[in-house]
Symmetry: C2
Subunit: 297 residues, 2 copies
C-alpha cells in the first residue's frame, strides 16, 4: 500500500510530535519525516531513536515540499510557527489545547484562514515529557477533536481525519468556540481548582504536617497540580475568556454550597451530592468505554 | 500469648467495624467479639463470615461485660450510641471522621468526658461498603489519629494505641480541634470542591456531551464525587465551622487567581503553579512512603 503522505514535517519534537512521528513511521504512513525543534538536542534524539528521517535548522527548510505540516509547538507558539508557512501548499494541522487563538492567528497572518489548514486537538498526553517518551500508540483509543472552518477544503479535512484514524484515534468535529468552551469546563477549570487548593495548603504555616495527613481524596485531587506550569500558564492565557466564564460559574456554585452549610440545609446538600454522584458514575461508565488516558490536557 | 481483650463489642458492623472484627479475630486479639447493628442482615452476614462470635439485639446487651467497646457508627449517630453506654466500665473508642462533636456528645451525656473514652479516626476506607467487604488488613500501613483529652486514663490510651498498632497501623495523637481543622482542609474541602464541579457540569444543557469529552484531569478530580452522599452530608454537618473556614479561605485564593487571569498577570500565575507543583511533588513523595490507600475520609 502507498504511504498516505510523501513528506511530513513535524514542527516541535516533544512528546506529542515525537509520538506522531513514531506512529507515522510504525504504520508506514509517510515516506519521509522531517522535524524542526528550537532545541537541537530533541532533533538529535529523534534521529537516534529513528522516529524522524531528517532534522532541519529552520521551519522553512523543514516544511519545504511537504504535503503535510503538523505544528506540535505550545499553543502560544503556534502563531510564530504559522508565520513561517506562507509558501506551504500542503495540508497544515496543529495539536494545540485551545483552538480559537489558532484560528485568530491564522487570520492575522494569512488574511483569512487558509483552506488547507485543519486545526486539531488530540486528547492524549502522559506524565512524561520530551521526544524520549515518544510512543507510537499514544493516540490509540483516544479522542481527537478537529475544528475546521466551513471554508476548509474537504479533501484536507478528510486527509487529517484519516491520519488520526490510522493512529487508532476516534475523530470528532466541532467549532473552535465550542471546543474551547467544553475544555474550559472539563479540563482547564479542574486544573485551576487543583492548583488553587495545593497552593492554599502549601501556604499554611503547618503545611508539612497537613500534607502528611492528607488522605486519598486529596491525592487524586492534587495529582493534576503536578502538571507542567508553563504549559498551563499558556493554556490559561490562550483561553482566558472561556476559563473566566466557567470560573465565575463555579464560584457561584461554591457560594451556593457555602450557604447550604452555613444555614444548615443539609437535605439540600445531600440532594446535591446525590445528583453529583449519579452524574459522576455516568461519566465513569462513559470514560471506561473510551479509555481516556491520564495526563491529557 | 494471651489475647489483649476478653470481650470486644463492635457497634455498627459495616466496612470499618467488620474489618476491625476480622482483624481482631485473625490476630487473636480478642477472646469474644459481639456486634450490634441496626440492620440485622449485617449481623447475620458477620456471623456467617465468622468475623464475630455473637450478635446482640441492643447496644446494652452487646456491651455488657466488655473490656473494649468500639463505636463504628456514622459520626452523627455516635451521640445516640454513647447514650446507651453509661454502665460500661471497659474502654470506649470510636472511628468517627470528625472529633469535636464526639467529645461534645460525651460531655453532654456523661457530664464530663469519661477517662476511659479514647476517640479515634482511622484514615482508611475503600470504594466498597458493608461487612461483606470486611478486610482484616484494611488498616495496615494506614494512619490512625487518636484525640484523647488530657484527662484520659493513660492505660486506656495505651490499650487503644496498642490495638491499632497490632492491626499494622501507624498511630498519632492530636487535639480534637486540630484534627478537625487539618481534615477540613485536606479531606472535607476537596470532596466539596469535587461535588461542586460535577454538579455544575451536570446542570449544563449539554452535560452528556461535556462528560464525553472530559479528559484525565477531570476524572481524577471527580472520582471523589462518587463517595457516599449521606456519609458526607453528615461529615459536613459535624464539621461545619472548620469546613466554612477553609472554604472561605479557598474562595479567597480562587478569587485571587481569577484576578491574575483577568488582568493578564501570567507570570504570577506561573509562579503560583510552580509553587503548587513543588508542594504537590513533595506530598507525593510523603504519601508514597506511608502508602495511604484510596477511599479514606
Amino acid at each position: 500500500m502507498e504511504p498516505q503522505f510523501n513528506k511530513v514535517s513535524i514542527i516541535g519534537l516533544g512528546l506529542i510530535g515525537g509520538s506522531l512521528a513514531a506512529g507515522l513511521k510504525q504504520r508506514g504512513l509517510a515516506r519521509w519525516i522531517c522535524a524542526y525543534d528550537s532545541d537541537p538536542r530533541a532533533l538529535v534524539a529523534g534521529i537516534e531513536m529513528g522516529v524522524i528521517d531528517e532534522s532541519a535548522e529552520s521551519i522553512k527548510n523543514c516544511t519545504s515540499g511537504s504535503d503535510l505540516v503538523i505544528l506540535c509547538v505550545p499553543v502560544l507558539s503556534i502563531k510564530g510557527a504559522l508565520a513561517e508557512l506562507p509558501d506551504v501548499r500542503g495540508i497544515i494541522t496543529d495539536v494545540g489545547s485551545v483552538k480559537h487563538p489558532v484560528i485568530k492567528a491564522a487570520r492575522e497572518i494569512f488574511g483569512e484562514v487558509p483552506a488547507h489548514f485543519v486545526p486539531g486537538h488530540p486528547i492524549a498526553g502522559s506524565e512524561k515529557h520530551g521526544v524520549e517518551a515518544a510512543n507510537p500508540d499514544l493516540f490509540e483509543n483516544h479522542k481527537v477533536i478537529l475544528t475546521p472552518l466551513d471554508s476548509a477544503d474537504s479533501g484536507a479535512v478528510s486527509a487529517v481525519e484519516q491520519l488520526w484514524k490510522s493512529m487508532g484515534a476516534q475523530v470528532m468535529k466541532m467549532t473552535p468556540g465550542h471546543h474551547d468552551s467544553v475544555f474550559a469546563k472539563t479540563s482547564h477549570l479542574p486544573h485551576l481548582l487543583a492548583y488553587a487548593l495545593v497552593d492554599m495548603l502549601s501556604a499554611q504555616g503547618d503545611s508539612l504536617e497537613i500534607f502528611e495527613y492528607a488522605a486519598g481524596g486529596f491525592r487524586d485531587f492534587s495529582r493534576i497540580a503536578a502538571s507542567d506550569p508553563v504549559m498551563w500558564r499558556d493554556i490559561f492565557k490562550a483561553n482566558d475568556e472561556k476559563v473566566l466564564d466557567s470560573l465565575d460559574q463555579y464560584l457561584e456554585e461554591l457560594g451556593g454550597i457555602r450557604n447550604l452549610i452555613a444555614e444548615g440545609k443539609m437535605d439540600e446538600l445531600e440532594d446535591l451530592f446525590k445528583r453529583a454522584k449519579i452524574a459522576r458514575d455516568h461519566f465513569s461508565a462513559i470514560s471506561e468505554q473510551s479509555s481516556i488516558l491520564d495526563g491529557a490536557s
